[in-house]
Assembly symmetry: C2
Homo-oligomer: 148 residues x 2
DNA sequence: GTAAAACATGATATTGATTTTCAATTTCAT
DNA sequence: ATGAAATTGAAAATCAATATCATGTTTTAC
């Protein structure tokens, strides 16, 4: 059993909540999918394991997972939210392919440092940030026709 | 009359559309407000000039303004979209105060350069990006109680 | 000038994701 | 077992964004 499951369990216990079978299924699918999932994605996957699981339950459980510190919300400029692993994952930003939708996780310490400096310059106390670069990934870039 | 109004007018003409009184009002309010406005913000402001203007018209006009190249959409992590001036404004990113909502416009050429490099490292062809740093602005940071 | 065509408007309806409500069920400590 | 508390799935509510539609207003064709 992953350590994350303990974290979630402890979080639930601390709030007087229960680790039900539905929550187990949803958590495990989330943990085993190293991807940026929407509520609906997770709902579809969860239904495969348990044909009776409800959308609301998936939604509520994902919210709990987020509150427990295991997940964070990410926004790739679509209309739906996505979630990614937080526990044991270092901060990173994304390169997002506008063609295939793939999200590459990246981290540049020099940029991070300059972001701090930039904030400082304005007397601003940063608490978090996000940076997304949109464009074509390696694969999609190759397939693109050359400019005329 | 601002040059932007001509840009918008030419855009409309090019599409066989008309520069109506409503569109004039909405455009002028948008141009005169150096701010990051939501459709609803702009609707409220427009109603002050013309009590009969409809929400749908504001929405449609803002869409046209965007298509004409005068505005672009920005996302400050709220559920509603915002729009800012694009014409004659250089690319910039934002420091967003999580307390008062103020958005400071910033630009760091070193960061921009590193973003290019970062993309290159992954064979990624960037076309645009966004970077938002959330935290407390100078004012709000001062008012914050010191940690215990 | 007049009539048809094209466009614009504001009210209203629809959409789609998210979030809440609610009655029924399950869990768990006595 | 019993009662309190938590959970569930379906359905409804919410809310911004968008589409529809009947009514006006130009513009164009004759
Ligand atoms: Mn990620
Ligand atoms: Mn701006
Ligand atoms: Zn791609
Ligand atoms: Zn502030």
């Amino acid at each position: 059993m992953k350590k994350e499951a303990d974290v979630f369990f402890e979080f639930l216990v601390g709030k007087g909540l229960k680790f039900t079978s539905q929550r187990k299924i949803i958590l495990n699918i989330f943990l085993n999918t190293e991807d940026h999932l929407s509520v609906d994605d997770l709902f579809v996957l969860s239904r495969r394991e348990d044909e009776t699981i409800g959308y609301a339950t998936v939604h509520r459980t994902l919210k709990l997972i987020k509150e427990s510190g295991l997940a964070r919300e990410v926004d790739f400029g679509e209309k739906r939210k996505r979630f990614e692993h937080l526990f044991g994952h270092k901060h990173h930003d994304h390169l997002i392919c506008t063609k295939c939708g793939d999200a590459i996780e990246v981290f540049d310490p020099k940029i991070e440092k300059l972001q701090e400096k930039l904030a400082q310059k304005y007397g601003f106390k940063p608490s978090f940030h996000r940076m997304e670069i949109f464009g074509l990934c390696k694969k999609c870039g190759k397939r693109e026709p050359h400019p005329v």
